[in-house]
């Protein structure tokens, strides 16, 4: 009998061979590497100054096609899918009937009547329940489709050299079809790092040669395979939220306070109340009218304050060596006004940053509040300031290639 094991990704043969410390982590039922090297800092550095190659195959992926594909997605998500043209990608959360977020992911329009939805959690039942009475076919392609993210300032140059596809002109949140050494791929200019980057979608049985092609070509461009510890730092810098860490899915929340609406997650920009009926619309209309109770913000820890706290016990300031994902209380005076859910030292910004839920009245950038830090086993308040996210937002994220027209803002991230 085969012992019960986590699934492996289509790139496993290559990723496993590189695992210096066997730092396997669980992601959606798959074994993936936290870091390939013994520490993730070089992998992180690759993302910000060369390119990181990240196996993101554990994402759930659904192919949705048929006459009502757009109608189905449009009734599920608060963004207007009808405005998504062929070759475009949009990011969106989706809600239950009470307007509380179930999950978030991307919708790629692959054809006139064909879309691909990615999600962090399994959604097949939710999709099926929503598809009642509609002329649509939903295919779970999570296992048959591999995905690898190529993220960093040199990502475009690598793809331009290895891919037979329109990469140079590919704009932010657009996708294109092509081949890499003869392997058919879809390349989307998307990612979870807030940097210039692409995600490459490939049939699972062609994943290994694709990996080889990218690694070989990337050797000249500072490419390193990067694990999810490095990715976690990058996504916090990018201000991108993570299910189960920064919010609880409405499908798993047990008590009222565990549910979050898109407005409460700083995703109000994805909600289109004018587009017609969609799940949770009535509740969101009401919330929009009254205003949300909570806000999801970025905070920066006051460096001087941290130095003082540690100086008091005779130590230099101590910093987290990896991103943390626990709930940390935020105070104004003695009153708790919120909690941070993920945080890290940002090597590129040289700042200690975190993503946090705060009561709306404390959400304005510049608001001074306090966060609890544990200094040598003692809990202490340190000053923090509410700031805008993304913390790190390089121009290259959306910019065109040299000589190419930039894709600009308002492109629907």
């Amino acid at each position: 009998m085969t012992p019960l094991q986590l699934n492996t990704t289509p790139f496993h043969q290559r990723t496993a061979a590189l695992a210096q410390g066997h730092a396997w982590r669980r992601w959606a039922g798959h074994a993936v590497l936290g870091c390939y090297q013994l520490h993730h800092d070089r992998e992180y550095a690759a993302i910000r100054s060369g390119s990181g190659l990240i196996d993101v195959s554990p994402l759930y992926k659904y192919l949705i096609h048929g006459r009502d594909a757009c109608r189905l997605l449009n009734r599920i998500v608060p963004r207007n899918v009808a405005k998504c043209q062929v070759g475009r990608v949009l990011y969106t959360p989706w809600c239950d009937s009470h307007g509380k977020v179930i999950d978030d992911g991307t919708i790629s329009r692959l054809g006139e009547k064909t879309y691909r939805l990615t999600s962090a959690d399994p959604n097949i039942r939710w999709l099926t329940d929503n598809a009642g009475g509609m002329d649509v076919v939903i295919e779970d392609v999570s296992r048959s489709l591999g995905a690898v993210a190529l993220q960093g300032p040199t990502a475009r140059d690598i793809l331009a050299r290895v891919a037979d596809a329109e990469v140079e002109s590919l704009r932010y949140f657009h996708l294109t079809e092509g081949t890499i050494r003869g392997i058919p791929v879809t390349i989307s200019r998307t990612g979870y790092t807030g940097d210039l980057g692409y995600e490459i979608w490939v049939a699972a049985d062609r994943a290994v040669p694709l990996w080889d092609a990218l690694v070989e070509t990337g050797a000249d461009y500072g490419l390193l395979p990067a694990g999810i510890l490095a990715l976690d730092v990058a996504r916090i810098e990018a201000g991108l939220l993570m299910i189960d860490v920064d919010y609880v899915s409405a499908h798993r929340a047990l008590i009222d306070s565990q549910f979050s609406s898109p407005y409460e997650l700083n995703l109000g920009w994805t909600v289109n109340l004018e587009k017609g009926p969609f799940n949770g619309r009535d509740a969101l209309v009401a919330e929009h009218r009254h205003g949300p109770t909570w806000a999801f913000v970025g905070i920066e820890v006051d460096w001087e304050g941290l130095i003082e706290l540690y100086a008091a016990v005779g130590l230099p300031p101590q910093l987290p060596t990896t991103a943390w994902r626990i709930s940390v209380p935020l105070y104004v005076g003695r009153t708790q006004v919120g909690y941070a859910t993920s945080g890290c030292w940002s090597p590129v910004l040289k700042k200690y940053i975190a993503l946090a839920h705060v009561e709306t009245r404390f959400a304005a950038p510049g608001t001074a509040i306090e966060m609890e830090v544990t200094v040598e086993h003692h809990r202490r308040p340190v000053a923090v300031t509410v700031v805008k996210t993304p913390f790190f937002d390089p121009e290259r994220k959306k910019a065109g290639a040299a000589g190419q027209r930039g894709s600009g803002a308002g492109d629907g991230t």
């Binding site: 449009n74 009734r75 009937s97 329940d129 929503n130 009642g132 009926p277 969609f278």
Partner: protein
Amino acid sequence: MTAKRYHVIVLGSGIESLVAAGYLGKAGLDVLVVDGAESVGGTLVTREVVPGYRFDSCLDSPGYLSPAVVADLALAHHGLKYSLGEPLMVAPRPGGPALRLSADLEATAGSLRQASPGDADRWPAFSDRITTLAGLLTDMYRRLPPRPGEGGVGDLMTILRLAARVRRLGRVELMEFLRTFPMPVADLLDDWFEDDLLKGALGVVAVRHLALGPRSGGTAFGLLHQQVGATAVPRGRPIISGGVGHLAWTLEVSARERGVEFRTGTGVAQIVVTEGGTTGVVLDSGEEIPARAVVSGYDVRRTFSDLVDPVHLDPEFAAMAARVRYRGVAAKVNLALGELPDFTGLDATDLRGTVVLCPSLDYLEKAYDHTKYGEVSDRLALELVIPSVSDPSLAPEGGHVLSAWLHYAPFHRRDGSWGESEREAIGDLALRILQDAAPNMANAVVGREVLTPLDLQDRFGLTEGQVYQGEVALDQILFMRPIPGWSHYRMPVGGLYLCGPATHPGGGITGQSGRLAARQLVRDQKKGRGRRAWT
């Protein structure tokens, strides 16, 4: 031309739709009833299928006809006449004395004594017990079902009233009530009786329109449900002068007198929903009729899968709606007869009541065994009525009309669906079973109409041929009917109500759901509840 805007459009003209329309008209609302059929009545239709012979083609009885509805809508004034057929139920016994169940306990005991003195002795206590327990249901069926976990005053009052009523039952009866509900009816009957024929006949009553056998859990509840409103076992069948279609007709006349308008011959294609609430309907012809509220007499599937655009439904609700169980299991055979069947030991006056052909619970359970696997047994139970015995106007001089329900004929056949040859086969089978009990039937049949479960769906709009618009089983009653949490007739689309047998208290109980649905709508209207002002 702008179409007239009604307060309420009622979909379908089945009996509950007509009752709801009558009450709404009585409340002073502008009401329009829309039905795709040419004439009103839905499943209550009396038609001349064979020249000279008029049949209650689909349902042959309104079940328990709520006296409150008859009075409120002045149906007697509009010509409704009905009486209980007596004896209530008979069953011929091959080579022995027939079984006669009568409203008179002594008479029934007398009949039972011939087969089993013990059964005869126990009959009065059994009848009393069943009548008491069913009485509790009768009480619950008159009101909105209490919803567990809802803190409303109305729910609390219903629960308190129920608790008071339960207290009056006494300890033994309360225990019996709780014990009986989930029991297989076979166990209940075995507790009391030994005569197979008696148990077989009552078993048929308990599994009426259920995809369950007498040894399935919850069928004792089936018996209680069929006893609602009764003072004797079995409930008996109100025989309506002129056929069941006449009941529909008097309801229509009563409704018209209250200003209700009717549009027949054009069905509804869509319930229009704007901003989460209904604003009217679109007919098959494309014509849109605006209204402030829509009351659907159709079942959950027809209403929500066919008529409402799914994007307006909460997917959790839609998923629950899709899970409603239908599973029709009965076929109908209508026979035009040149003479009365000559059942052993039964004379013409005995045939005023229901005739059951089912020798034992084993026989019934074996017929059900096939149903589980999508097959039709060649030994079915028949429950038949011959309304022309009481109302000779239904057939030519000397002739008779006979309507029989066949248990079981599963909608979902393993070998595919119901076609022409399957229809003829089950008609022949019914005739063969009838001939075994009454040999003179071999040459007495002048004409016949056979309705398979698929026919019931296609011709009467009964999903999966389920005449109660969804099984009346333990998990689909009270606050769970039609959909758990949505038992108070208002649906999650603003201004949309359900009123058919799909809703509490369900099929076999006539008039209550239409009455309760209309009452909810009128209350909402008075409170200005719902999305749109009613003025």
